[in-house]
Symmetry: C2
Subunit: 423 residues, 2 copies
């Protein structure tokens, strides 16, 4: 039996703006918000362990006149920062200080944000867990690989954070930690200066404490002026039950059913999206592409520091060494065909709904869970947002993801906002 | 009146292998070849200035049992090397020592090559010339941006070198310097650890002193066992006269005509490939995509070190700042449509022939020439090889490029070899 989950929304810029008559927070508002965030960090981070490095918030500059208004932003520790070490979650890069900022760091600064925190990542954004714990229950995994970014926003320690998804590393931590995670369309946010695992899959994504905050963050980075819009006609929700649907717990399936009920109660339509054999092939193609590219992208680490890689990563890279060029190109072709097929299906559904993860965060710190509900969508390159809608009887958050059309990220955010408000 | 050009082929591994009865050079052969290359460097590089850093060849290890047999390889100075500085052709990165090797550096090492030389690049692989001179005539530009890589192989100083092409930076320097340049299909060689200008365009490419050497180099990097094959049936050559055809000199047009004549004399077919309006739109889309992505990829350099960028680069980045997301996505859609259209045309032609550059290398050191004959093909992501077939009355090399089908790089190399032998 699921009940409504209340995500931590104390660090919300849009809520703050909304309390001001001109819709714009004052400098003293912003300072108060930053102080409150600093207090959250002081109170919680000894347990949660979301950060690898930080610039003291006392040193954060004055309010910017750009949209992010000088607020702090956390970036995953596989993203190069010229003023903070970047250690990729690996002892190989202990104390490593990049010369320059990754592109996304500069986009944050151009948008008026301050990159103050490096957030914990699993080793090279793969599976080996790192030190972060789930803010909802410290004995449960926060998910990976963007563990620190998700946990920091879910716990109100930061208003915005950036992560990456190659399998399920934006959506899964959002689901496990109970916050909003948004994986935009592939290549919408530039990965230049971000440690590569798979150049066909790696996608930067965002965390924020609400859909309006997500929209504000996204719009600031994209220089977009498109507002959140209420749908002016009934939309069709496509329910996607993928090959791994049976792996979804009763709670995960109930979350989809409840959200669909709310959707339909608005007078909107819902229909099933057929899962085809081609999609199952694409699901498998993800691993072929992932491993082939990883074996090349992490070649220096594998060849020069094999003793410093975790067994789970080394196994993946060794599997990558056995993938032939022919198999890789075939996997890419399957992916391209599946993208075309799904795009054609999306002509008749406005938004897709599907589980974000098999269940709530597992009670373990030795695994970050599984990306089986995310891999296919990452390979498809479609925008996905996790909504932390419900909680289970054990008070752990569970939700679902909404999936938009390629490069129609703004529409996805608008529909997500509309549904969230109705829940 | 063009005559046959004799490219410098003294540093040819396949020629050396061919002189041995088992088809395999001995260790002492390899040492002799390396010594001879070192002598070329000592004799010529004070004039040509192809290198930014090098490991003394005396320190090069023993013969490898992998295909590249321990020979030295030069890599463009926008490619990260853990044992040599990487300065991106910019004072901003003076003395910069990367922590790790780029993926392509490890692929060279895995294939048994030694990365001994960093080769001169223009500033961030854009237009601002650097110090390298054309080995055929020191008063002429070597082309850009892979100036040092092309000049080093063209002059017999290195047997193999690696460059990149975003506009025309593999093919043009090969044409101007008189050597073989190969831009493989987009993303065939991993750009991880290579300084990004445009993630949709940047393509790693190769230089070698002959088509068989190019094939050996390519096969070694790709773990491919496909041999060079003689066509077993008549092929069709597609002659592509792009929108900028009138910019091709009489010599450049004659090179195409002569090669086509040789092709037809083999009993093969030739036909014109229609240049369509969509291709002209794609030609323009190249700039939209290039500038939009450059403004983001080089954000740190632009924002933090604007005073250290050349005016020509700063102008490009500023233009990039004005490109809207809508214009960018539209340009990407035009590119996708043009790729599909050209692929459909390639169903009826086996190989395309088109100029590599408007003319021979211009007599200037203040410009690296123009990429007008390359941009469109870079955006199409198709494999291209330059063949240095002819020379003008002023003894400067001029040739043409052959263009293959997407990810049929081996076929392109086979056809190029067959044509080269017939010339």
């Amino acid at each position: 039996m699921l009940t409504k989950f209340q995500p931590n929304q104390t660090y919300s810029l849009t809520a703050l703006n909304g309390r001001r008559s001109n819709g714009r927070a004052t400098e003293s508002d912003i300072q108060d918000l930053i102080s409150q965030g600093a207090a959250s960090i002081a109170e919680k981070d000894a347990d949660i362990k979301a950060f690898t490095a930080q610039i003291p918030l006392a040193d954060v500059g004055r309010m910017s006149d750009q949209p992010l208004l000088g607020l702090p932003v956390g970036v995953k520790d596989i993203i190069d920062t010229s003023e903070l070490p970047t250690q990729n979650g690996s002892v190989i890069y202990e104390g490593h200080q990049p010369r320059s900022d990754a592109a996304i760091v500069r986009l944050v600064k151009r948008a008026g944000g301050q990159v103050t925190h490096k957030t914990v990542t699993t080793e090279f954004a793969f599976l080996q867990p790192n030190k972060t714990r789930n803010p909802q229950n410290l004995n449960h995994t926060p998910g990976g690989s963007s563990s620190g970014s998700a946990a920091a926003v879910a716990s109100g320690m930061l208003p915005f954070a950036i992560g990456t998804q190659t399998g399920g590393s934006i959506i899964r931590p959002a689901a496990y930690c109970g916050t909003f995670g948004f994986k935009p369309s592939f290549d919408a946010l530039p990965t230049v200066g971000t440690k590569t695992f798979s150049w066909s899959l790696d996608t930067l994504g965002l965390y924020a404490p609400s859909v309006p905050d997500m929209h504000l963050f996204w719009s600031a980075l994209m220089h977009s002026k498109a507002p959140l819009r209420t749908p002016y006609k009934p939309l069709t929700l496509g329910i996607l039950q993928p090959n791994v649907w049976d792996e979804a717990s009763a709670d995960a399936q109930e979350a989809i059913a409840k959200a669909t009920e709310v959707w339909v109660s608005k007078g909107f339509n819902a229909a099933n999206v057929a899962w085809t054999d081609l999609y199952s092939q694409a699901f498998d193609a993800h691993k072929t592409i992932h491993d082939y590219e990883g074996y090349r992208a992490l070649a220096w680490e594998m060849d020069v520091h094999p003793d410093k890689l975790s067994p789970v990563l080394m196994e993946c890279l060794e599997e990558g060494s056995t993938v032939t060029r022919t198999a890789y190109l075939e996997a890419q072709q399957i992916a391209a065909r599946a993208r075309r097929s799904l795009a054609s299906t999306q002509n008749t559904v406005d938004i897709i709904i599907t589980p974000s993860a098999p269940d709530v965060a597992p009670e373990t710190l030795n695994s970050t869970g599984t990306s089986i509900f995310n891999r296919f969508l990452t390979l498809m390159g479609l925008p996905c947002i996790h909504l932390p809608a419900y909680q289970t009887e054990s008070a752990l958050p569970i939700g679902f993801q909404l999936v938009g059309k390629s490069h129609q990220d703004d529409t996805l955010l608008s529909v997500a906002n509309d549904l969230w408000e109705a829940l």
